[in-house]
Symmetry: C2
C-alpha cells in the first residue's frame, strides 16, 4: 500500500494545455472582489437590470405547461421556438435552421475555433480585442495577428497583407469590449467590401449591440455578407448571463460542422433555460425591458464622464465616450503603467482592468478599461476621484 501511494501517475498534457493559463483578468478580479472596493473592473452587467420577477413567472409557466420536456434531453440545435425568435429578432433574413443555440456566446467562440482553426492557422483580431475570445481560440493553437484600429474600427487597409493563411477576422463592432468603440457605417462598408474581395471570412461578435444610448448602431456586418460571416449573439446582456444562453448564425457552408461540434461539446444547451427565455420574451417583453437597461447604462456612462472631466483636470488622462455598452477606455499620462497602477488603486479602494491583456500583439501599457455599469453613481464619483488621486500621486513619484 505504501509503495502504491508513492507511485505517481504520469499525466501527459496536450501541447495546447501550455497555452491555457490562468486568466490575468481572473487573477486581477480575485484581488478586486473584496468588500468595500469600488470596482470598475468587472465585465458584469448590472444585476439591477435582471427581470427576476419575470423569470419567476416563466419558471412556473414552463414547469407547469411543459415540465417533462423542459427537463429532458433535447436537440443539439436548440429549442425550435427560441431559434425562430432569434431569427425574427435579427435585422436581416435569417432562416431558423441557421441558428444554433449555444451555452453563452463564449461557447460560440469555442465552436468556431474547433471548426475553423488548425494549429498554426492565422486568426486576425482587432487591436485591442475581447480577451475571452483570445482564450477561447487559444486551445486550437492559432497564430493571432492584431490588426490596427482607430476610433472607427479596424484598419481595413491592413487586411490584404494578412489575408494569406488567415482563417477569419474576429471583430466586435458594437460598443466593443474592452474599448467601448463602435465601428462606423463607412468602416463597415469598407470592411465588408474588403472581406468579399479577399474572400476573408468574418466572425462577428455582438453581445452589446442592443445596449445603445441614443441611436442604434449601424447594421451588422453579417447582414451585409451573410454567406461570408458567422454572427454570435447573447442573451446575457439583455436578460441575464446566469442562464448561459447565446446563439450563433452560420451560413450553410459550415453550419453542419458547428452543430456537430456543439453536440460533441455538451450535447445541447439547457432545455429548461431555453424555454424560460422563450416564455419571458412573450408579448414583446424585450421591447419594454431593454430600454430600461439603455437608460440606466446611459446615466451611468454620463456619471462616469462627468466624474472624469471633473477629477482628471490637469492630468494628461484621455478617455472616450462610448455610444453604448458597458465600458469606456482610458489612457494614463506618459510614464505611467496601468498594471503598476492597479495595486496602488486597489489599496485606496478602487479597481479597474489594465488594457494590456486585451492586446494580441504589443500592448498599450497606459490603457485601462473602466466599466460604468456596476458601481452606483455615488461610487463612480468617489471612485474616479480616488483614481485621480492615485494617478496624481504616481506622477509626483515619477523618476
Amino acid at each position: 500500500m505504501k509503495l502504491n501511494d508513492l507511485q505517481t501517475t504520469s499525466w501527459t498534457l496536450a501541447r495546447r494545455a501550455e497555452r491555457m493559463n490562468p486568466s490575468v483578468l481572473r487573477e486581477i478580479l480575485k484581488v478586486t472582489d473584496r468588500p468595500g472596493i469600488i470596482s470598475f473592473a468587472g465585465g458584469l452587467p448590472s444585476a439591477r437590470t435582471f427581470p427576476v420577477a419575470a423569470f419567476a413567472d416563466a419558471c412556473a409557466n414552463v414547469l407547469r405547461e411543459d415540465g417533462e420536456a423542459a427537463l429532458q434531453y433535447a436537440a443539439s440545435e436548440g429549442f425550435a421556438p427560441l431559434r425562430e425568435q432569434v431569427a425574427r429578432m435579427l435585422p436581416w433574413d435569417v432562416d431558423p435552421a441557421q441558428v444554433l443555440i449555444t451555452t453563452g456566446s463564449q461557447q460560440g467562440l469555442d465552436l468556431v475555433a474547433k471548426v475553423l482553426v488548425d494549429s498554426g492557422s492565422k486568426v486576425l483580431v482587432e487591436t485591442p480585442t475581447y480577451l475571452g475570445a483570445l482564450q477561447a481560440f487559444a486551445p486550437m493553437e492559432p497564430e493571432f495577428v492584431g490588426i490596427g484600429a482607430d476610433a472607427e474600427g479596424i484598419d481595413v487597409a491592413e487586411l490584404a497583407a494578412q489575408r494569406a493563411g488567415a482563417r477569419f477576422l474576429y471583430v466586435l463592432p458594437n460598443f466593443q469590449n474592452p474599448t467601448g468603440r463602435t465601428m462606423s457605417e463607412a468602416r463597415r462598408q469598407a470592411l465588408v467590401q474588403a472581406a468579399r474581395e479577399l474572400s476573408l471570412p468574418i466572425v462577428e461578435d455582438n453581445p452589446y449591440g442592443e445596449l445603445w444610448f441614443d441611436a442604434p448602431p449601424p447594421l451588422p456586418l453579417t447582414a451585409r455578407n451573410p454567406e461570408g460571416s458567422i454572427y454570435l449573439g447573447s442573451f446575457s446582456k439583455v436578460l441575464a448571463p446566469g442562464l448561459r444562453l447565446g446563439f450563433l448564425v452560420a451560413p450553410p457552408a459550415i453550419a453542419p460542422k458547428l452543430l456537430q461540434a456543439k453536440q460533441a461539446a455538451d450535447l445541447h444547451s439547457p432545455s429548461f433555460n431555453q424555454r424560460m427565455v422563450v416564455d419571458v420574451m412573450r408579448d414583446g417583453f424585450l421591447d419594454r425591458h431593454v430600454p430600461t437597461i439603455r437608460a440606466l447604462y446611459k446615466a451611468q456612462r454620463d456619471a462616469m464622464l462627468a466624474a472624469l472631466t471633473r477629477e482628471m483636470q490637469g492630468l494628461d488622462v484621455r478617455w472616450n465616450a462610448p455610444d453604448g455598452g458597458m465600458f469606456l477606455w482610458a489612457r494614463l499620462p506618459e510614464g505611467l503603467d496601468a498594471v503598476d497602477l492597479l495595486p496602488r488603486a486597489v489599496e485606496r479602494g478602487v479597481a479597474f482592468v489594465p488594457g494590456a491583456p486585451f492586446f494580441a500583439g504589443p500592448a498599450d501599457t497606459r490603457a485601462l478599461r473602466l466599466s460604468f455599469v456596476t458601481a452606483s453613481q455615488e461610487q463612480i464619483a468617489f471612485g474616479i476621484a480616488t483614481l485621480a488621486g492615485v494617478i496624481r500621486e504616481q506622477l509626483g513619484h515619477r523618476p
Copy 2:
C-alpha cells in the same frame, strides 16, 4: 450587387472538422422519433422520474432568496455549495476544490480531451464504449485503441501492450452505455493495480452508478487511485438532463488546466441551474428520490427480460441482465446484421440502436442496444414480440 452575390467566401475548415460527422445515432433517432413507434433506441431517462414539483419549488426559492446572484456571471469552478455537496456525495475523500461543475458530463469529456489529447495521441477505450465519448474526444484527433472486454469489464492483460503513447484509458464501469455491464470487484482491483504499475491515467465516467437495482456497484476506480484518475459524474440520471449539469473530480496535477479549459469553453455552467439543484437536494432529497428511480427501472428491466425470454424462444438471440442503469445488450442470430434489421423493425413500429457505432475498432454487427426505461411495460411486451417477429422473418429470408 449581383457580382457580390456570386462571390463565395472561402471557408477553410480545420483538419479536425473532417472527424466530425453527423452522429449515426442521431440520424437513427430521427427516423425512430416518429409517433407510434415503440422505441428502445433512446438514451433518455424516463421523464416520469423528473421531480417537476420539487424543481418548481426550487426555482421559486432561488429567485426569491438569491435571484440576482443566480442570474449573474459566476465562478468557472461552479457554485461553492454545489461543489461541497458533490464532494460529500462521493464515497472517498474529495476536497471540494477538486470538483469542477460542468455543462453536463459530456462537457467533462470535451475538457479532458482538450487538456490531455494531442493529434495522434493514443486513447484506450473499452470494446464497445460510449459513443458520445468517442465524439467528444474526436475533435482533438486521438488514435482510439479498443481494449477487449468480457462481461466483467475490460481485459486488463491487454493494457501493458498498449501503454506506450496512451494518454489515458476511458472506462464506464457501472451499467455501461451501451452494454449495461458492470465491472466486477476483482476486475477493478486488477485494473487499478495495472494502471498504477503502468502509470496509466484513467478517466472514469459514472453517469449511471446510482441506478443500481439490488445492491450498489463496487467502489469507483477513482476512489482507489485518486491521483491517477479523473472522475466524471452527472445529475442527468438522478435529477434531470435538461439542466445540463455534471461534474468532474480531478487530481491537483491537472485540475487547474481543466478549469482553464472550462473557462475558455463557456465561462461557467448556469448559476441558476446550479442553485436549483442545491435547493432541490436539501434535506436529503436524493435519498428519497433515487430509490423510486431504481424501483421503476428495475421493474422495467424485469419486464424486458421476461418479454425476451418469452418471445425469443427458439431464436438464437442472446442478451444480458444488467444490475442497474438503462440499457441491455443483445446479440442477433448468426447471419443477421443489426443495421440491416433496423429499418425493417421500424417499419413494424419498433426501434433499437445497432451496436456497431459503439465500437472504436472492428464492430460486432450482430449486437444491439435496448433501452428498457422509456417504453411502458405494455409497450415493452408488444415491442419485443414485434422485434422477435422481424427477426424470425429475417431468418426465413436468409440466403
